[in-house]
């Protein structure tokens, strides 16, 4: 492999690793549980995405074969991250916030997670 090819792959790997560490460190650093929901999004999209693109470029340079498996993993993680975040915030709403503290929904129905609470 030529030097410029190695530099491209190494840059993607270092970007991915850095963002992965920042995302996990945010879990420890941020104070509020809902603020912590913000941090691992970086680990998902930029961290794992950077590593997967680096791996794809490395395969293309080293073996001359271009594979799309990595793009599948990236696509799957991009699709599932919002669903996971929504469910986790619903759990937080369900367990820590009373019905009287919430703003009105503007419809006949109450907040979906608090149907059974008083």
């Amino acid at each position: 492999m030529a030097l410029w090819q190695e530099i491209i792959v190494a840059a993607f790997l270092i970007i991915g690793g850095g963002f992965g560490l920042v995302g996990s460190f945010g879990l420890i650093k941020l104070a509020d549980p809902m603020a912590r929901l913000h941090a691992p999004t970086k680990a998902t999209t930029l961290g794992v995405g950077g590593v997967l693109i680096g791996s794809m470029v490395y395969q293309a340079f080293a073996d001359g074969t271009f594979s799309v498996h990595e793009l599948l993993i990236t696509l799957f993680l991009f699709l599932t991250a919002p669903v996971t975040a929504m469910l986790i915030s619903k759990v937080h709403l369900h367990q820590t916030i009373r019905k009287s503290e919430l703003p009105p929904t503007g419809t006949d129905r109450p907040w979906a997670t608090l149907d059974k609470q008083d």
Partner: protein
């Protein structure tokens, strides 16, 4: 140069795995614990892909894909169990 970058990225994700383990143990709420477990799965996927690069094998991408799916399903199941007290109603 690639070996150095691989060592850096592996170290970063390994430290991240330890940090999520710490957050899993000392979580303040259940939502926190679910989030930490989900992040742990993501770090594990990145480590598997990095191991696949160093082993020069494409087998580990299938493994990473399966672990991504299992991680998503387990996160949804945990959250749903807390929300409804039941997973499949």
């Amino acid at each position: 140069m690639i070996a150095l970058a691989m060592a850096f990225a592996t170290g970063c994700f390994a430290i991240g795995l330890l940090l999520t383990l710490w957050r899993t143990i000392v979580a303040t709420t259940t939502a926190d614990r679910i989030l930490a477990l989900d992040t742990m799965v993501i770090n594990m996927i990145a480590l598997l892909v990095l191991f696949g690069i160093s082993a020069r094998s494409t087998l580990y991408f299938e493994v990473a894909l399966v672990i991504a799916m299992v991680g998503f399903v387990s996160t949804v199941a945990y959250a749903r169990f807390v929300l409804r007290g039941n997973i499949i109603e």
